[in-house]
């Protein structure tokens, strides 16, 4: 019997995106130790957008909300701000899903750029204006840029995973 046919492993497979989201917010893998100047990307943004858009409800909004709280605690941001940003990304993704008749990766990709530009602006406006926390704008710009670029790469990996999930549910 194949691993993916066993009910428990099917359950674990379906929880994959949530587990990955929690590991990424708890771990904040950032490759900082490699000391690439300005290299950073926001993996949760990519994951949340993709799975809200394509995941057919597999990514629970409640889990996204809790992941945001965890992210705030780990990074030391005002509590609730990442949840708000993550949920706004969900809103954009669901909106795109509602208006899309013929899905296209390129359109998704550029809508993702629009989404992260809006949500990041919103996020850092709150952080700077209401909480007086200073941020490095170059870091922010490169973070958005790399997050945008890497979406294309991760969408293939997630697409493969999504197909695997669909096959196991058939």
């Amino acid at each position: 019997m194949a691993f993916s046919k066993i009910p428990i492993s099917r359950k674990i497979l379906s929880l994959g995106p949530i587990i990955l989201l929690y590991v990424s917010v708890l771990n904040e893998f950032d490759f900082n130790y490699l000391e690439f100047k300005y290299f950073s990307f926001n993996f949760p943004y990519i994951l949340i957008f993709y799975w809200s858009l394509k995941g057919e409800g597999r990514l629970s909004y409640v889990f996204v909300f809790i992941a945001g709280l965890i992210n705030d605690v780990v990074i030391g941001l005002p509590i609730g701000i990442s949840s708000l940003t993550y949920l706004l990304i969900c809103v954009f993704a669901v909106y795109l899903r509602n208006i899309t008749l013929r899905p296209s990766l390129i359109k998704d990709w550029f809508f993702f750029l629009f989404t992260i530009l809006v949500t990041s602006s919103f996020f850092y406006s709150i952080v700077i204006i209401f909480f007086n926390i200073k941020v490095n704008y170059y870091e922010l710009l490169f973070n958005v840029l790399y997050t945008f670029l890497l979406y294309y790469f991760f969408s293939y990996i997630f697409g493969y995973y999504l197909n695997l999930l669909r096959r196991t549910n058939d």
Binding site: Y33, Y61, I133, V135, N136
Partner: protein, 282 residues
């Protein structure tokens, strides 16, 4: 045109309000929750502070465990690098050791003289408590540079305490939980420390840049003749830190006369740190 606007409104309304078959809450409800938590947190609502404190305790521990595989990779990478650089490091250390040996002869005399002079000007001369702490989490986001240590209010940690790596200042405590605390590193953009630049005793403020180096503020470089290699110490102004804790040295001065400071301590390699409360024991 009318239809397009209707479609847009329907799609937006659906995105906010429609729960979806596998969802327990609609997005609008959770967005409302987030905004409520954020606003209450801003005004230090007690319930949110308790929630935050409880989450901190739990999540810092879980993060420590979840980070174990990445830390292993990181440590292996650093170990490999240190092996590759072994010979060059050895040569540099030998040179430094000779220089330090020479300096050491003068130091004991200067220390006793310094203690005597400090006693006369009623300065902070000793630490009242020194707590050794293990770094639990050093996930320095590109925007905020801080670490979590495994000591909290239970161990006597207080807000504003100085944190040292060996003898070098690395930051101060900005958040205290029962068993854990957050330390804001000197490299963070939000860190501001009164310092003194030696040998001319130029008073300045050291701020973080979000990078591996800091920057001097409110100092006229030309007027005070600051040079590359000048040493940076805490000035003791403000009474939080004692004066003379080594921090780093002026690494370079750019064309617009901004002085950048390289820290003595490598903030990516922190394992054990000392948390110290300085008090005047005179």
């Amino acid at each position: 045109m009318e239809t397009n606007r209707d479609d847009f409104i329907i799609a937006i309304r659906s995105a906010f309000l429609k729960k979806g078959t596998k969802q327990r809450f609609s997005l609008i409800v959770l967005l409302f929750f987030s905004i409520t938590i954020l606003v209450l947190g801003k005004y230090n609502f007690k319930g949110i502070n308790y929630l935050k404190s409880g989450l901190n305790e739990l999540i810092y521990r879980v993060t420590f465990i979840v980070s174990a595989p990445e830390n292993f990779i990181k440590n292996t990478y650093n170990l490999t690098l240190s092996h590759i650089n072994l010979y060059n490091d050895h040569k540099k250390l030998k040179k430094d050791f000779k220089a330090l040996q020479a300096e050491n002869f003068n130091n004991s005399f200067i220390i006793s003289e310094n203690e005597m002079l400090k006693a006369k000007i009623d300065d902070i001369v000793d630490s009242s408590s020194e707590i050794l702490a293990k770094v639990l989490v050093d996930k320095q986001s590109p925007f905020l540079k801080s670490i979590i240590v495994n000591r909290g209010s239970k161990d006597g940690i207080k807000l504003g305490m100085a944190v040292l790596d060996e003898e070098f200042l690395i930051g101060k405590v900005v958040e205290v939980n029962f068993r854990t605390s957050r330390v804001l590193l000197l490299s963070d953009l939000n860190s501001k420390i009164p310092i003194s630049v030696e040998p001319n005793s130029v008073q300045s403020i050291l701020t973080g840049t979000g990078e591996k180096y800091g920057k001097l503020l409110y100092t006229q470089i030309e007027k005070f003749n600051l040079k590359t290699g000048d040493q940076i110490y805490t000035s003791g102004s403000g009474g939080i830190f004692k004066s003379g804790i080594p921090i780093g040295k002026v690494n370079f001065i750019d064309d617009s006369n901004e002085a950048y400071v390289i820290f003595h301590s490598d903030f990516t390699q922190l394992r054990l740190v000392k948390v110290i409360l300085y008090e005047n024991l005179n």
